[in-house]
């Protein structure tokens, strides 16, 4: 093998080149599904609300009366300039929609991710350590049940049984007073509240975040449990663990110092690939808890048959997912030279 075959820049370049056709295929799919197939999007979104003449004018203003192939070229070109178009119903630029609602989605997903780590990793370690005993079976069962339970059902159960008990709010990301008091700087409410330094506002935002983050976290922690458990099982069988044990190091110490740490490294990178799960989970959680994020906005536009907004938001989601999987691959290659082959 030549020296350059395994080099990092080469790997990254290959991976980036692969992204281009992928983005193109997905964009084309989105265009065909949302623009070509449904016929006239303007009358779907606004038919009955405006006069035919006004509809025509809207169509012309948005360039929807031109040939499809021209529109397709425009769509691809505008994405290169990071312009994702406008919504048809309320005439908002998609980027401003993302700016206003993306922060809520971001804080929800990050908080849920932390919850999933805090629940999933210890349980996975425990299950792997106590393989085929009662705790292992119970933890695995818990994993299967969290997989089988729809996120919105967890949310409903939490709203009915947990929220009254703890006195936690179940709707929105803050009370109206907080929204009024906290000045908008970063469009991420938690950060804004922290910047304002108002303790009551911070508390209010955190209590609103608690239940949605818990719900989403529990729903995705099953994946973490399974991953950590399998990795522990593999690591325990490895030679260096056996060697450590042969040198007379206590089993608990071998687990802590040798097995656990090495078992967690692959988990970190694989977890990055759970973006898809996190994203679809976030859409459902937002609808359950009336969380003003991007997912809820998407559902609102779908029910309003707003093809423009749906197309823009889906395009952004697709780009984000592709970018993150690219990032994970690169990080993976940095950590583990075998990936670069």
């Amino acid at each position: 093998m030549s020296a350059s075959a395994g080099s990092l820049p080469r790997f990254i370049a290959q991976r980036v080149l692969l992204v281009i056709p992928m983005v193109w295929i997905l964009m084309t799919l989105v265009f065909v599904v949302l623009r070509v197939a449904p016929g006239d999007p303007i009358s779907a979104a606004l038919g009955g609300k405006l006069t035919p003449a006004a509809l025509d004018q809207r169509r012309h203003a948005l360039g929807l009366d031109r040939p499809l192939i021209v529109q397709y070229g425009d769509y691809l070109g505008s994405i290169l300039h990071l312009d994702f178009g406008k919504s048809f119903t309320d005439n908002q630029s998609i980027l401003s929609v993302v700016r206003d609602n993306g922060g809520a989605t971001l804080s929800l997903t990050i908080a849920a991710f932390l919850v999933a780590l805090v629940i999933g990793i210890p349980l996975g370690l425990l299950a792997g350590r106590l393989r085929d005993t009662a705790p292992d079976v119970l933890i695995r069962l818990f994993g299967i049940i969290t997989y089988a339970t729809p996120i919105f059902f967890v949310g409903l159960l939490v709203q009915i049984h947990v929220a009254p008990l703890l006195g936690l709010p179940t709707s929105g990301d803050a009370s109206p007073e907080t929204l009024f008091v906290v000045p908008e700087r970063t469009h991420i409410l938690l950060v804004d509240a922290l910047l304002s330094g108002d303790w009551l506002s911070i508390q209010d935002v955190l209590t609103h975040l608690a239940l949605p983050a818990f719900t989403l976290g529990v729903a995705i922690c099953g994946v973490f449990i399974r991953l950590v458990r399998v990795n522990i099982l593999q690591t325990v069988q490895s030679d260096y663990v056996e060697a450590a044990q042969a040198r007379g190091i206590a089993r608990g110490k071998v687990m802590r110092n040798h097995a656990f740490r090495n078992a967690l490294v692959p988990v970190i990178t694989i977890v990055g690939l759970q973006m898809a799960l996190l994203l679809s989970g976030a859409i459902l959680t937002e609808s359950t808890f009336n969380w003003p994020g991007l997912g809820q906005k998407l559902v609102k536009y779908i029910n309003g048959r707003d093809y423009g907004a749906v197309q823009g938001i889906i395009t952004i989601f697709a780009l984000v997912v592709i970018f993150i999987s690219l990032l994970v691959d690169v990080v993976n290659a940095l950590i583990d030279p075998r990936v670069r082959y």
């Binding site: 799919l29 059902f153 973006m275 749906v310």
Partner: protein, 328 residues
């Protein structure tokens, strides 16, 4: 007849312990739901959209479980138990349609792509990989959005919503079958028996049908059951977001849970608990069947049951014709 029975019994005879229990419990749960789905009109006390009894009296609104309504009633005055049972029919209809359609399409594409290779293979792989990389739930949302707006009324005995939901689920599972079938085809087509068949003058179609198909089909049951489990969840999620099946078309668990959101704040638990439990149980059942099958099909996971071997004492004398017959 005996061969069919033996084939069906394979997963049982080849497994033991936990795997066998998983399979049995999973099949039992799934069978209950299949029964409800098949006989919904007879099992359910009322229709899925029925809000008054046959004597014309309106059902109470949001009534707690009682002898008349075992699982209570909803805010639309429908019977929760009936909607749960009719929901099983919808789920089974949509999911079996989706799994069968994606299986057929994915398999044909995978076989052709893997067997012929070349530019067709490259293009298909790239398209499927792009679809696979995209969050499947988002894909389902996009397709459901499209199909519900395209398909107006129904087709044959299926309502428009059911068909739209089935088609959007089909779209998201095709890449999985494609991938599995294509990879198996590529490794199988180099096998000696395929080469022999080709040397004997078998056409491409015959080779694919007779020699590759049998190899490829083995990994499909596991994938199909696990996909069915996933599809139940996706269908409910679409219903929860209000995309797809409309309440007057069929009973659907996800839609019921969405309606139950408003009840949750009032402390009303029966409108959400029962449809939710139905989803959890059916997904768990199908997952158990899938995992159980996986342990029988996948030789890496399989722990074969040890068949006790009876060693007869060696007889010093020459066996008579009678003993040789019994030993056969």
């Amino acid at each position: 007849m005996r061969r069919i029975a033996a084939f069906i019994a394979t997963p049982f005879s080849k497994t033991q312990g936990v795997a066998r229990w998983m399979l049995v419990i999973g099949i039992a749960i799934t069978a209950v739901f299949l029964f409800c789905a098949a006989f919904a009109p007879w099992v359910a006390p009322y229709g899925f959209a029925q809000f008054r009894s046959s004597s014309g009296a309106d059902f109470p609104k949001l009534a707690a479980p009682s002898p008349h309504h075992w699982f209570g009633t909803t805010d639309l005055q429908t019977d929760v138990l009936s909607r749960v049972i009719w929901g099983a029919r919808t789920a089974v209809e949509v999911v079996s349609l989706a799994v069968i359609a994606s299986l057929l399409l994915g398999m044909v594409l995978g076989l052709v792509s893997g067997y012929f290779g070349g530019w067709l293979d490259r293009v298909l792989v790239l398209v499927m990989d792009s679809l696979f990389a995209f969050p499947s739930f988002l894909l389902a949302i996009v397709f459901a959005f499209l199909f519900t707006n395209l398909i107006g009324s129904g087709f044959l005995f299926l309502s428009g919503g059911v068909l739209a939901a089935a088609l959007s689920l089909t779209a998201i599972y095709i890449p999985q079958y494609f991938r599995v079938v294509r990879n198996t085809t590529i490794s199988a087509k180099e096998a000696t028996y395929v080469e022999a068949a080709r040397a004997l003058g078998a056409t491409d179609g015959v080779i694919m049908r007779r020699y590759l198909f049998g190899n490829v089909i083995q990994s499909v049951p596991v994938l199909a059951t696990l996909n069915a489990a996933d599809a139940i969840g996706t269908l409910a999620a679409l219903g929860f977001l209000g995309i797809g099946i409309q309440p007057d078309e069929a009973g659907e668990w996800g839609f019921d849970l969405q309606r139950a959101l408003d009840d949750a704040g009032l402390g009303i638990w029966w409108t959400s608990l029962y449809p939710g439990l139905a989803i959890v149980l059916l997904i768990t059942g199908l997952t158990l069947v899938g995992e159980g099958l996986n342990e029988t099909v996948n030789p890496l996971l399989r722990k074969q049951r040890l068949v006790p071997v009876e060693m007869t004492a060696r007889q010093p004398t020459v066996p008579t014709s009678e003993t040789s017959v019994t030993s056969r």
